[in-house]
Homo-oligomer: 291 residues x 2
Amino acid sequence: MALIKISNLSKAYGDEYALKDLSLTIEENKIYGLLGRNGAGKTTLLNLITNRIFPTEGKVTIDGIDVASNEEIVDKIYFMTEKDLYPDSMRVNELFKWTKSFYPNFDMEYALELSKKFGINIKKKFKELSTGYSSISKIIVTLASGAEVLIFDEPVLGLDAHHREFFYKELIRNYTEEPKTIILSTHIIEEISSILEGVIIVKDKNILKNDDVENILSNSYTVSGLSKKVDEYIKDKNCINVESMANFKAATIMEKLSKEEKELISKLELEVSKVELQKLFIYLTGEEECK
Amino acid sequence: MALIKISNLSKAYGDEYALKDLSLTIEENKIYGLLGRNGAGKTTLLNLITNRIFPTEGKVTIDGIDVASNEEIVDKIYFMTEKDLYPDSMRVNELFKWTKSFYPNFDMEYALELSKKFGINIKKKFKELSTGYSSISKIIVTLASGAEVLIFDEPVLGLDAHHREFFYKELIRNYTEEPKTIILSTHIIEEISSILEGVIIVKDKNILKNDDVENILSNSYTVSGLSKKVDEYIKDKNCINVESMANFKAATIMEKLSKEEKELISKLELEVSKVELQKLFIYLTGEEECK
């Protein structure tokens, strides 16, 4: 059990709020994507959940227990951070042992097996690793941690396409074998869209969306065709993006596509198509208006 | 003019070769993708081209002049490295000024305009920047450098999807306005495949492929269907990957798809489809065999 509840959470640095009055429930045994623009506050949110920094207002509970009042509850979570917290001179195999001292369920055999499969030299020191292999070493520790909640912050930074594919497959294998809560904070959205169940989008210091990927994708579509007809179609719709080229236009709508709508689109001689998650993210978090 | 010729280039560290007997011509005014797995030697190659490290054997010339004998010829190139070479305490606007002292054609106005568009605070020090904004500051300096050859090593590291899209668009705009040679070394292949003209793949200490993207993509295809029939079809083909599921198979072939082949595929009741560049890269640089 590891139900994470975030209630009216705010974090300010001086006068500036990084997150403001944010509430969110992270369900158990689900794979989430945590999405947001550079600087949106994703890492701040993850640091608050894991009690690495303290909220200005509000609280985070795991299974009903406030993380600020009980350090041990946070041990249910393993948080792979983008910044390294270990000394540069530590070797990868020393990191494994070091982690086992904090996470007794750490699976050393699994960590060594993954090291082989990723092709990492575990005798190397951190400071000798490239960006890609530094990410790989942290991925391995997180997967093998034995924690009930795994949080990955930018896990695929510097990983080549092979390594990314292997990571995604291994993540699913690990999750299928022993369901757990997984939170992936990443900018490489399209590649992970098929493995996510839930999506949490952070924008303007708060949660913009918290929904199942399936729901999000099935509640959006793009219509394209002659500008005049697209304009006519979208005028009373929840349009989130428009692209124009000569006298053609493509508009993305954030609504369910009903049978009546399909008929109307066909009557107007417009085309309809699906939207990819990464595109949807760009439209939802962008500043541009539908004109 | 900036024609880069690499002749029988080798680089060894102790007994271990990072690159061996590599020859390559990089044509002018073309956009190249430099692809390779983690640790394949891409950065070593770029460091040799820009005379930051010295070859064990062979040489690199720019417009016929050996880069090792003439430091100034290297000034035709601006190389955005993954590792930071500037002091941590330098501010972004100081980096602009510093670059202008080495690259007299550095366009300060353009750098400031890009800074605004990317939303970076140029008064910040490097050490205060996140991975994404650190990449952005280096992208700006490279684009504004005024050099004839721009080399980007992992430019989109940590960039959100908006920023990546803006970078790709700006790169094309910059190139269209003033054609130059651009080399992009990146692991996020699929997103850039549409902007590349040439692809250079590094594998086993040498060049595996150096060809136009169009050629590569039009000389490959995937056939899928019943395993037995796929096996029959591929037995005398240059197969580079096979995926199986129950009694179905998909095989990717690295050959031109002729009219006769199309007829044969249709006779065998197989489906044919195109291959994406990132997938092709994975197949070509992988260790797996076609079975």
